[in-house]
């Protein structure tokens, strides 16, 4: 009770301090050249209020205070403490509070750490950021108050959806939001820099750190979500091209493009408009994602509670931000009159522009694929689904030149260069083609397509490996990232090519056998846990080489809310995952058993970690 009240009033105080901040900043922007100390302290105060509010909600969850509507809807006394805490951000209201926390945290750090930029710029960035913050405060208080009071106080809560009770998913939202919301700083400061006409190399260097931070968190957030989907959601898939996943991929693509583009801007005063557009797009896409997911305008595996009023608010808010940015961009940004920019074909700039071109294409595929069904439905009432085949068909062919460009680009120098190592580059290409041909030949599946795809990935792989030796520590961050990417594509391709599965129905004591594998369902154990009943099926799996594995997938029958979930049993090893999952079949004594051999799964996760490592190292690198 008391925690909710404190939390609620802290929120209101946070909103008030936001409004005062805007007022002071505007005053400060007009009159003084000294950054008012008040702005920093107010910003700190605001952060403090949000932190208090956030802890208020966490404590309400911890003590299971069901007079709080959010707690009532998403918690239960039998839930383990860990999930009571993480349940705080597992729902719409709490997750928005987390957004606010990150928003206020970032602007505070921004003010604290930005020392070498003009005061006007810092003040203006604060104004734009506070516009976003105040918008979210109003959104939270008006449509999604996490501290609604319930009376009479219910005895028991409704519980958290069991598929969300999971360690990976517990830390996935905070990390993802750090990425989403981190881009708000890029958005605000790009608008500020545009207004003050100070988009330049030094601004690029300053904003690069923030871009890296958001990029790293977004990458890790997506990775965690993907790992969760792999073991919890389905049948061993890790990327479904589901709208919610696409929505996180879009800002990621924009951020990645921005990251490359900023490198050019650092060296040369070109592409200024493009950098501004990308900076605006990144946060706008994050917001757009929030709108799509929270408004219930599209259907998805992962849905939050839908409410049209919320959707309307975010929609209007989103477009206010868009039109504000458009206005600032068109009004303040004057492109250099010197319109033609001269570039040499063989230069790092050209390679990065090529990267941007492809990345924008990928982004447009994902964006159009995600929103097109909504548009078609509104315009013609026809309903269609856009799923994995669409994305694969449009993205995969373009991946081939993209990978090759990714390999050659870093070989080029700024401004002008000639490829001195042509021979070795062509030699490596031939080697890649040969190796992939020899590998793919054994599988008889789409020989040509797979060979070309795998050879381009191998090409990037070999060239980045070579660069580790020839370039030593020059650009090692970039090289790690590109190497990680080649590894990711290779792992996904081989995973796709080499996976095999068995789907069968088994009763206790029965077994399934084919030329490669024997699966025996030995027995089942039933146990009663705190908030669910568990059925564990014990399997013995004998592979063709005589190796025996014991695997125990589980069915959980949760009591609150009453939902049955299947917990897959996954044996991870360096080269492959063994994945087994069982399901109940309505009114039958047997289980539906699905067993999969999934090679290189671990490598998919590791390679994503690797390329985010590239980002992390680059973030901490010392200025030379």
């Amino acid at each position: 009770m008391i925690y909710s009240v404190v939390g609620y009033y802290a929120l209101i105080l946070g909103l008030i301090s936001g409004s005062i901040l805007i007022y002071f900043s505007i005053q400060n922007f007009r009159n003084s050249e000294i950054l008012d100390a008040k702005i920093l302290s107010l910003s700190f105060l605001q952060l403090l209020f949000v932190v208090i509010s956030f802890f208020g909600l966490i404590l309400s969850f911890v003590v299971s205070d069901f007079s709080n509507e959010t707690v009532f809807n998403n918690s239960h006394t039998t839930k383990p403490l860990f999930y009571k805490i993480t349940g705080t951000w597992g729902n719409h209201e709490g997750s928005l509070l987390l957004w606010l926390l990150v928003l206020t945290l970032f602007i505070f750090i921004f003010l604290l750490r930005t020392n070498n930029q003009s005061i006007k710029y810092k003040t203006l960035t604060t104004i734009f950021q506070q516009i976003i913050i105040v918008g979210f405060f109003i959104f939270l208080l008006k449509t999604s108050n996490p501290f609604n009071y319930l009376f009479p106080i219910p005895e028991e809560g409704l519980g958290l959806n069991p598929i969300l009770q999971d360690p990976a998913l517990a830390i996935h939202p905070p990390i993802l939001y750090l990425g989403y919301v981190g881009s708000s700083i890029i958005f605000s400061s790009a608008l500020a820099a545009t207004t003050l006409k100070m988009v330049s190399g030094s601004w690029a260097t300053h904003i690069k750190k923030w871009t890296l931070v958001s990029w790293i968190f977004l990458t890790l957030g997506i990775l965690l979500g993907s790992i969760w989907a792999y073991y919890e959601l389905g049948w061993g898939g890790f990327w479904f091209w589901d709208p919610v996943e696409n929505v996180s991929l879009m800002p990621w693509l924009a951020l990645t493009t921005l990251l490359h583009c900023i490198l050019v801007l650092e060296k040369k005063l070109i592409l200024t408009s493009w950098v501004i557009i990308l900076s605006i797009a990144t946060f706008t896409l994050s917001m757009c994602g929030t709108f799509l997911v929270r408004s219930g305008i599209l259907n998805s595996v992962h849905t939050f509670a839908n409410d049209p009023e919320r959707g309307l608010f975010i929609l209007i808010f989103l477009f206010v931000l868009i039109f504000m940015s458009l206005f600032i961009f068109f009004f303040f940004h004057k492109e250099d009159q010197n319109n033609s920019i001269n570039l040499f074909w063989l230069s790092k700039e050209s390679a990065i522009i090529l990267n941007n071109w492809f990345m924008m294409y990928f982004l447009s595929v994902v964006l159009i694929g995600t929103v097109y069904p909504i548009f078609l439905d509104v315009i013609s009432s026809e309903k269609i689904s856009v799923g994995p085949p669409f994305y694969h068909k449009l993205i995969v062919p373009f991946l081939i030149p993209f990978l090759i460009a990714m390999a050659i680009g870093p070989q080029l120098k700024w401004i002008k260069s000639n490829l001195d190592s042509k021979k070795i580059l062509i030699f490596l290409l031939l080697v890649s083609i040969l190796i992939s041909y020899l590998v793919v030949k054994n599988f008889n599946k789409n020989l040509l397509v797979n060979t070309i795809l795998i050879s381009s990935a191998f090409y990037l792989f070999f060239i980045t490996v070579r660069d580790f030796f020839t370039k030593k520590f020059k650009n090692v961050y970039q090289n790690i990232a590109h190497f990680g990417f080649s590894l990711l594509i290779l792992s996904i391709l081989f995973n796709n090519l080499l996976s095999s599965e068995v789907i069968t129905n088994l009763k206790v004591g029965e077994s399934y056998e084919n030329s490669k594998i024997k699966i025996i369902l030995e027995d089942i154990n039933q146990t009663e846990e705190k908030n669910y009943n568990s059925v564990v099926a014990n399997f013995k799996i004998i592979s063709s080489n005589g190796k025996i594995n014991k695997m125990s997938p589980e069915l959980r029958i949760y009591n609150q809310p009453s939902i049955v979930t299947s917990e897959a049993d996954i044996k991870t090893s360096l080269m492959k995952d063994k994945f087994i999952v069982i399901n109940l079949v309505q009114n039958q004594e047997y289980f539906n058993v699905r067993y999969q051999d999934k090679p290189f799964m671990l490598w998919i996760w590791l390679s994503v970690l690797l390329f985010s490592m590239g980002g992390i190292l680059s973030f901490f690198k010392k200025k030379i």
Partner: protein, 119 residues
């Protein structure tokens, strides 16, 4: 370069030996069917009653000798275009399929117009 071309030609000539195993075919088809009651999962990925029945029916249809496209048509007739994850190219989807490609071309045009490339 010449070697490369010859190599590629050789690759193209080598016949594409794809053999259709029923299980593979079934997986391919069910990955492309949307599980209508689970919202956002394919029949292949889902384990709901509906999806399991769909899987059995796809098997039956394959045994009857229906081709992949005939099976899609069958489900399209029953449940509408919505059930397919791979929307075919028709008047409803021209924009969907062509807009990204158009954007790609447009992007290329803008780059070529704005920037002067020299050798």
């Amino acid at each position: 370069m010449k070697n490369l071309k010859i190599f590629l030609i050789i690759l193209l000539i080598i016949p594409n030996l794809s053999f259709a195993d029923n299980q593979l075919e079934r997986n391919k088809i069910t990955k492309n069917l949307r599980c209508l009651i689970c919202q956002g999962q394919s029949v292949y990925d889902s384990d709901s009653d509906f999806a399991n029945s769909m899987k059995i029916l796809v098997d039956k249809k394959l045994e009857e000798g229906l081709s992949e496209n005939e099976i899609y048509d069958f489900f399209k007739e029953k449940y509408g275009e919505w059930i397919l994850y791979d929307p075919g190219l028709n008047k409803n989807t021209y924009i969907l399929w062509l807009l990204p490609l158009l954007i790609f071309l447009l992007g290329g045009a803008i780059i070529m117009k704005k920037l002067r490339f020299k050798n």
